[in-house]
């Protein structure tokens, strides 16, 4: 199972901080996962329609949407960071 995490306004809008999910059929990279999430419609479609507003981490390292993913990965979606 993939472990998906959502932070900040993504979590607020999706109403959840994360979920577990089997690796979608034929998914090899973050972009494939995003495509699967968009297909749910509603807030998922709205949020993932604008990938330029979203940052991704795979297994707790920053990644691009081209980054490969595999079963058991932890994949986090969040806005650009604003700490410090």
């Amino acid at each position: 199972m993939l472990r998906i995490l959502y932070f900040a306004w993504l979590r607020d809008r999706l109403g959840r901080s994360g979920e577990t999910l089997p690796l979608p059929q034929g998914a090899h990279c973050v972009q494939d996962l995003i495509t699967a999430l968009r297909a749910r419609g509603g807030e998922y479609a709205a949020i993932f329609a604008r990938p330029e507003l979203i940052r991704v981490a795979v297994n707790q390292s920053f990644a691009t949407i081209a980054a490969p993913i595999a079963a058991h990965d932890e994949i986090a979606f969040f806005p650009p960071v604003t700490g410090g």
Binding site: W9, Q60, A76, F78, P79, T82, G83
Partner: protein
């Protein structure tokens, strides 16, 4: 080996105590630079709510701190970042850098703050007296400030 301390905590920090820990047993330190970030008031702001990504936050903070130690030849450094609800006037973040010479400590502090602001997964939500709240937008100048250092491990 440089002495590196990383912490994410809800509690307030004591910069004098942290400085003493950083320096303990070191006679080769000529200066300690520090930066304390504070919740700045104005525009009706009451507090910030600080959220983070546990695990990734600490590993990014450690990477940034170790990179600063190597790049600037620090004796050690300490980074403490608070999370949770922080009222106006409260400290958010502490960076301490100790080195033999002043400029290395000062530059390392700037370097670490630039990287923390853009690469450690923290998010701030502003709470206003009106009851309205909003996630803070990233600032383009923070990315530009980070860019002047090249990559983290240059």
């Amino acid at each position: 080996m440089p002495r590196v301390t990383i912490r994410v905590q809800a509690e307030v920090f004591d910069s004098a105590h942290e400085t003493a820990l950083l320096l303990r047993g070191h006679e080769d330190v000529g200066g300690v630079a520090a930066f304390t970030g504070i919740v700045r008031g104005g525009g009706g702001l009451v507090a910030l709510e600080l959220e983070h990504y546990p695990g990734m936050t600490e590993s990014m903070m450690r990477r940034i701190a170790e990179s600063a130690c190597t790049r600037f030849g620090l004796v050690g450094c300490t980074v403490i970042h608070r999370v949770g609800r922080l009222a106006v006037g409260m400290p958010i973040v502490l960076v301490l850098c100790a080195s033999a010479h002043r400029s290395a400590a000062q530059e390392a502090t700037a370097f670490m703050m630039d990287w923390l602001k853009t690469s450690a997964p923290f998010w701030k939500r502003e709470e206003f007296a009106s009851g309205h709240s909003a996630w803070v937008e990233p600032r383009a100048q923070d990315e530009a400030a980070k860019a002047r250092w090249g990559s983290l491990t240059d």
